[in-house]
Subunit: 600 residues, 2 copies
Amino acid sequence: MTATHFDREIHPKHSYSPIRQDGLEVPETEIQLDDSPTGPNEPFRIYRTRGPQCEPTEGLPALRAEWIAERGDVASYAGRARNLADDGRSAQKRGAASMEWQGEKRAPLKAVEGKRVTQMHYARQGIITKEMEFVALREHCDPEFVRSEIARGRAILPNNVNHPESEPMIIGRKFLTKINANIGNSAVTSSIEEEVNKLRWATRWGADTVMDLSTGDDIHTTREWILRNSPVPIGTVPIYQALEKVGGIAEDLTWEIFRDTVIEQCEQGVDYMTVHAGVRLPFIPLTTKRVTGIVSRGGSIMAGWCLAHHKESFLYENYDELCEIFAAYDVAFSLGDGLRPGSLADANDTAQFAELKTIGELTKRAWDFDVQVMVEGPGHVPLNMIQDNNELEQKWAHDAPFYTLGPLVTDIAPGYDHITSAIGAAHIAMGGTAMLCYVTPKEHLGLPNRDDVKTGVITYKLAAHAADVAKGHPGARAWDDAMSKARFEFRWHDQFALSLDPDTAQAYHDETLPAEPAKTAHFCSMCGPKFCSMRISQDIRDEFGDKLESQLGMPAFPPTVAEDVQTVEEARAGMAQKSQEFKDLGSKVYLRDEETHAAH
Amino acid sequence: MTATHFDREIHPKHSYSPIRQDGLEVPETEIQLDDSPTGPNEPFRIYRTRGPQCEPTEGLPALRAEWIAERGDVASYAGRARNLADDGRSAQKRGAASMEWQGEKRAPLKAVEGKRVTQMHYARQGIITKEMEFVALREHCDPEFVRSEIARGRAILPNNVNHPESEPMIIGRKFLTKINANIGNSAVTSSIEEEVNKLRWATRWGADTVMDLSTGDDIHTTREWILRNSPVPIGTVPIYQALEKVGGIAEDLTWEIFRDTVIEQCEQGVDYMTVHAGVRLPFIPLTTKRVTGIVSRGGSIMAGWCLAHHKESFLYENYDELCEIFAAYDVAFSLGDGLRPGSLADANDTAQFAELKTIGELTKRAWDFDVQVMVEGPGHVPLNMIQDNNELEQKWAHDAPFYTLGPLVTDIAPGYDHITSAIGAAHIAMGGTAMLCYVTPKEHLGLPNRDDVKTGVITYKLAAHAADVAKGHPGARAWDDAMSKARFEFRWHDQFALSLDPDTAQAYHDETLPAEPAKTAHFCSMCGPKFCSMRISQDIRDEFGDKLESQLGMPAFPPTVAEDVQTVEEARAGMAQKSQEFKDLGSKVYLRDEETHAAH
């Protein structure tokens, strides 16, 4: 692995500018802006996920190690021995993984006997941890609000005690909508180095968490490299690795192999794990009349096992033991929707909702152990059926954060499923989904490469932000306004700097008007230099200044026009009221949003 | 211009397969499908916009010429003389446009004295024209329904008598959602040949109408080439050309120059024209406090004119004369939203809605002349404020078809505005918008090239289709179901053939698994050959077959599970009922949709 080339900021106007308070250093990016004609602009600050940079071989500093130690409720222990089987048959043959982790190996930590070390446990005790303080600074809200949201289970702060490198972040619908990027090798392709590069690439562009979905060689060691280099929480689907350990034969899986795999991953530091414990034996026949059956890989593994043995799922049967393990490391459940629809035709069917109902039951059971939970959602859902998913999830899963894959709103556009799913993602996040799992252009077709990862991340950032704006999240629209002001004033460099993807914005601009003067010119390629609509708007502003419309000395409004304006203003007021009534009467999501914003 | 390379279908499994009925030949594409394990699949048929192919120099056959002539209400006349000023100063200097139209020149037609030749006029007389029959076959509905929708103004069938090459299509919210692609040269770049290629390229991928927004050299002649080669209605913004005629100085515009330009374009065959007659003098000061002022080019031209002269808009003042002209050629109004918001900050403000209210008034006035009307809409609108636009447009503009640009739901993603706007487009179309104007990745940054045009068209096709599915448009979801069935059965070639963009789908697939056997293999690159979730689903299906769940001889449902399934089914029923109540009580859009679907 060579020295990283990710060191530079994504734009020369960006810089690392942390919030420093109470001994914490919370990362943010500051964007320098050029002056407006009317005066200078304050720098604009945005959320930052990329974390500190390091040699991949060294790994990131253990930011949270002291905070964890100070609480005095964990102890280190020997942990599982190095087991080449964790890395698959190639590693066993070779006697090593293809590129063993070269950095420091820490002994794993776990809770001392009788203790639970989850953020939910602390929150319920009324304790505001350093992690919660960090999150409060990052989200610009009150630490007590962070604590209370975690305590009631409406938000999670995923951070395994064995992943002290991660910068605390929160997933919950009262906070900024988050996005997840999937990486991971497969039997078909890809290397450890590529996966670490994808991790850094995804977080550089704004991934809030990353899931390692590896199913190929060197699963254990790839994950080690990823965790030691990840400033964001890492999620996995442990059944994938368990399946590799039994040679890909679902029926050979056992609870013992699964549990051992979970402990292996707990010791490494995985922050949340997808567990398909809601796929119960009696639900499987509910899928037979579907157009696309079971499309979740984990769901079909468990369905395969249940069928082969004609037995209830070992995940469901041993769920309490799993909760005890998770509580000892602070691993969060991501309760997997193994029966999610794989096509519009199968959306919102009985199989899907029977599982969701069960997931709700499992959520409560995890909470009995103070284990944090989020709930996974679909998938493929027509636009008009999306909001039902939010409502049932909130009702049945008791407001646990919802984490959806898209959903895709049509099946007919392979190659464009980042878009078909971003439409659904923005819509479902507006309705209360807390985290969106990205979909790349390669969905249904192949494995994403570096460009696909970036496209997926940027697409989901924009969908998440659109939802934050629509929800009226405090401060969200300021970013749009800063961009629009720069656009109106032809501050091209600021427009690039304020973009989610400055490189692409500038490259597209340069294709038509490459010369540097075009970046300070007061026109663009749409209208050309001769005529510019923005300039006319400026003329209007110059002419009318800040005068009120009524003082303009314009010819008196013709009666129909005065009436137009009046009718318009009444209609706007009327809509605002109607909207309020809607909130008051029916829209639970928004009603709760309002309550919270009033509260913090 | 060389022989076209657009002759081949977009996939080898596609073929031209028209509906032939009552002497009409209505284009459709038939897609051959491979067999399922359970038996053969019927070919799948889709809407086809690309039209017949020809040498660009020859132009398309005049499909509608006879139908127009048979009605006996038009006559040919000399028309305006060839005027090099129509093509700008380069043409005047040169003594010719850079590439004069080489095909047949027909004398223009117009209504004989005292006649109106619009489809709305015929519809109101109870006449079902050939154009309406054609549309009914194309949309798979009753011709009388087409007539009644046009008569009441809720749909338009844009087809100038001087553009007999076009295949009739309809824009209205009871029909398939349509999309428009913008092309056109600018002062900065592009040639006649390029524009004709873009037209053919856009219709190949599914553009339902094309707007020629040229502002550079050879405007008249470029448009001639486009019209003679266009199987879809062509729209323009005549004020752009009028502005060129006065050297780009807005204040030098006059009603006479504008009217002459409109007649020039009527004679050529433009099917609909954007006219910003709703930008009235008193509304202009309403924009001064906006973040982005007036961003519509046409709107700012008119605002510039009004300001310079301190006079009411000549478009508004002379609107009735314009209606008379349009009625004589069957040109439809696209009433331009010159005061549309250019940023989230400016969405749904008084300026925007004052104009919309005025547009409603202008709609009624056009209908007095039997002139067809659609209404243009925003722009940039937060996701939660979109539906208000549909509702006010339907109320104030009396259900005239709504035609929106996106809207973009965030301002922060230049380079990805096809996506930010597709999110808004799908949402607004679900709420009743009839046609969506595409946005390409170059929006705000530069002029779209060929790839951008394709990306814009495909993105908008998927958004329009997602909306059709969400609206429950009869038959819309069949396409998704055909794709999903092919996906479940690993019919890879069928998946490509059923894609909006087969080339991209196949290219992405081949990147990971290039060999031909991989296209018949029963696995994909996501899970690899060893384990396949689709295969497990098939095993489940094989095991349970078509048995009802209750007859499966499964272990009795544990009580909580039986309860889960029961609760789930009650919840689903409850949601359906709630959804119905919502329709009954408040959702006018859907309520009307339901009425209509019941009616035809």
